[in-house]
Symmetry: C3
Subunit: 390 residues, 3 copies
Amino acid sequence: MLLAGCLVFFMQAGFTLVETGFTRSKNTGNIIMKNLMDFCIGSLAFWAVGYSLMYGESIGGLIGDVDQYSFFDSLPDMHSLFFQTVFAATAATIVSGAIAERTKFTTYLIFSLLMTLIIYPISGSWVWNAGGWLAKMGFTDFAGSTVVHAVGGFASLVAAAMVGPRIGKYTDGKSNAIPGHNLMIGALGVFILWLGWFGFNPGSQLAISGDNAFKVAAIFITTNLAGAAGALAAMFLTWIFYKKPDISMTLNGVLAGLVGVTAGCAAVSPAGALVIGLICGIVVVFSIEFIDKKLKIDDPVGAISVHGVCGALGTILVGVFATDGGLLYGGGFDKLIVQITGVAAIVAWALAASFIVLFLLKKTMGLRVTKEEEIDGLDIHEHGTNVYNS
Amino acid sequence: MLLAGCLVFFMQAGFTLVETGFTRSKNTGNIIMKNLMDFCIGSLAFWAVGYSLMYGESIGGLIGDVDQYSFFDSLPDMHSLFFQTVFAATAATIVSGAIAERTKFTTYLIFSLLMTLIIYPISGSWVWNAGGWLAKMGFTDFAGSTVVHAVGGFASLVAAAMVGPRIGKYTDGKSNAIPGHNLMIGALGVFILWLGWFGFNPGSQLAISGDNAFKVAAIFITTNLAGAAGALAAMFLTWIFYKKPDISMTLNGVLAGLVGVTAGCAAVSPAGALVIGLICGIVVVFSIEFIDKKLKIDDPVGAISVHGVCGALGTILVGVFATDGGLLYGGGFDKLIVQITGVAAIVAWALAASFIVLFLLKKTMGLRVTKEEEIDGLDIHEHGTNVYNS
Amino acid sequence: MLLAGCLVFFMQAGFTLVETGFTRSKNTGNIIMKNLMDFCIGSLAFWAVGYSLMYGESIGGLIGDVDQYSFFDSLPDMHSLFFQTVFAATAATIVSGAIAERTKFTTYLIFSLLMTLIIYPISGSWVWNAGGWLAKMGFTDFAGSTVVHAVGGFASLVAAAMVGPRIGKYTDGKSNAIPGHNLMIGALGVFILWLGWFGFNPGSQLAISGDNAFKVAAIFITTNLAGAAGALAAMFLTWIFYKKPDISMTLNGVLAGLVGVTAGCAAVSPAGALVIGLICGIVVVFSIEFIDKKLKIDDPVGAISVHGVCGALGTILVGVFATDGGLLYGGGFDKLIVQITGVAAIVAWALAASFIVLFLLKKTMGLRVTKEEEIDGLDIHEHGTNVYNS
């Protein structure tokens, strides 16, 4: 389980590579720092407060008792703390991609802190705290399609909308592509994230029930098939629509499939996982196009679609594909309704909480760098350096 | 064992980095897509058919019974399936490097599918299916020097010869060096592959006999010494011949040593592993030069030599260095003859099967992109994008 | 434990990326080769001699009996050998960064060999050989803040001083910044090293006492908090002093915190680890500035400060923060004095032994490349190639 935690930790590197690769070179250093700080701040904040808020004895099913765990000088449940810390940091990191290339560093740090300290642990406690109201209702989100990814993804939606698009992204009502500076680095990031998912999903099984080798192996297979199917679906879809198999979309298809199967990786069959992956790989392409061209919200890396939309969708699909209780397996609509309820509640929380936090930050510190800083690049203005030299 | 599977999965990233780093930047995206698809297609194909063809009850020692395993809604042997899936994808991925920078994407996808669906599982069943004819003969290929690497390497030979050299590679009967665009990325790929080998070789021990800690530790040491010795041998050899320690060849020396020891990692002593590594590190340099300058087959990354030649050689050397039955340990020629027989049979199969598949593909879809596409780069023509931007 | 060894092995990739990223592109290939050779030479040297010198029955507490272990054809203690090999290679690799961009390749190889063969194992035997004089005295260096890092770091100090600064580094008594060519690669290296530390520190627990899950989990937490705290401390300090949060220093802050907590990761509380991380994150910034501007020793990657200064400091701080015997926990000065004694002795050994070796190398082979080679870059002169091409 700790080795699974290592793989999940390494996802921070994966996110950093994906986000830098899909954006311009003049902002690379800023993205590195944001991702690094997500994990550094998150490690301290989740240890000091967030973990208790999430896993302390539940108060009314809504929140954990902060006083329960004191980690300052004792060592209860360290396995779980390490593993959960990297989950919490992941939720925060998702947002950094959606608002890349124009957000103030200071403001971002405070948002990231509040994300790991409050926003993520509260909705997390509803599901993963045994006393949480969604846990009691029988809501299934095994490894966090909604608890981690949709929370990050819908916070990204609010954040990207409030920060506004990058200069030059929309001109004359038209969306202009701003190509990333290094898709090779982005692809390496996707491979690292895929690797990390083999920690994320199977590690959650270990967290719950100890070394249950048979179940763990099945989770490897469902996770892997969904990622592969997501990639294939996105590739063939872009091949049809754009006439060429698109690299960025295929990479996002991998992530969409993996995000989608995360909720149900222990509850669905391999064939079910494959179908979930296919659906998410298709949906992610339409969702990215819709958010970009119709909603005109500028999300440089597709975080809203990958993590938000596919996270929510994958969680709902557990109500269809779960071999025990899913619609397709004779379970009726009960399970599906529970899943939809849980997703709706958590997404509403993520939208509302991140709106309040970001609204306050906007009114006080401001969300955006100056026009000059954005045009020159955040690296030189915010950090006084260029990432690439001779 | 599943964590070993994770490391082997990560080899896909290593292969992608090595292949892109050793080739030109205009084709990077195409190589990323090919490597990604090897794994995505392979995951589905091997799960649906390949695994059964390889591990189903053997029919006459030649092929597994496809009907035996149905993974669609059940979960037998998931450990093994995950681990074997990444092995199968590795065999396919090897070929993509040898035919990089000029092969049609569609054709490649079909070849990759047939590789994981048919070519690899059939010869694999001869050795790793308990009922396989080579298994019964006592042929030793512990973790796939021949089953995985030589199959990929000799399929690469056929493929590179049939696709033909890149434009500008041979002019006036002379071989021109076409330097890779980023050796740093290539070196990172080699480190990742080395890491993956610690999953590949020791993981195979776990697959066979459960957690046998003592044997597993010995395999770490033999694997590591062979890789190190291969690098040293290649470096000093190029230092003598080229007057300078060559970076590319040294990196290929690591891989040659690792490929070579894969068959015998559990059967030879540490000193034996070191000698196998040294031999493979020397042979790989001569083989790359010979294939490039004498055979005039254009293999941009040296896949034929590294995986084909050193895979076959390493497997044969088990007949010399195996502490139980090897020539040097008083075992006589029996073991050596079995090893040579097995290698010859599998190499012949890989050559013949890939020739038939590629011949049919050549006559129907064509193997090669147009001259214009090759000169401009496959990324822009096949995928409509550049990997590197500002 | 072997999987922990894998993570530690992967640190070689991390070091390579950090060192190349923080230096100029014309020397990238040379750094790749040095790091690769550290591990290749180290694997052979430590297996053949170094391991016995360190872990063979101690002779007078000062040195192991070389005759005790023969690995040539037997397999005793292979777990430990693999794990220790990667530790030994780490000590050598640290030096390559400090003397990057101007040191002769041949000379470096011999230095690296002697480091893993003699310098590292001898002082290592004082602490990690049960019969070592510092082990008997009760000196605590759990996973090598001093045994590995300070030995490498203070050898770096001697090496960087003897090799002299790069051309153009100091002009008119002023220190000129020579920016690294790719901080993105450097950042990826830091993430990989952080990952590796989860092998380094917890793996050492496994090496000592088998799978002690509770202790291992605590070590993950102390290690992680120290790394995070180091990064935060360095970032805020540079924000105050340089007016901007500095990327390179923040990355070095991560490493400083990790190096610092390595000695005490099993002996201090999470809060203690956090404070050690903060102290090291602050000290590393001052130390890098001091060595660069006051001592005028040119250390392109900050290896002396990160590994030497923070390694020694972290080991001494165990005497303050150890929950069993530390000053803050009512243990008096006894523990602290033991820690200071041990650090002083090992640092003195590292300084003296590396001085002797490097002095002899300087007088015989020479340490430095020619002025022309340095200006053109080591890649083209020493290896006949460029790492980056189109």
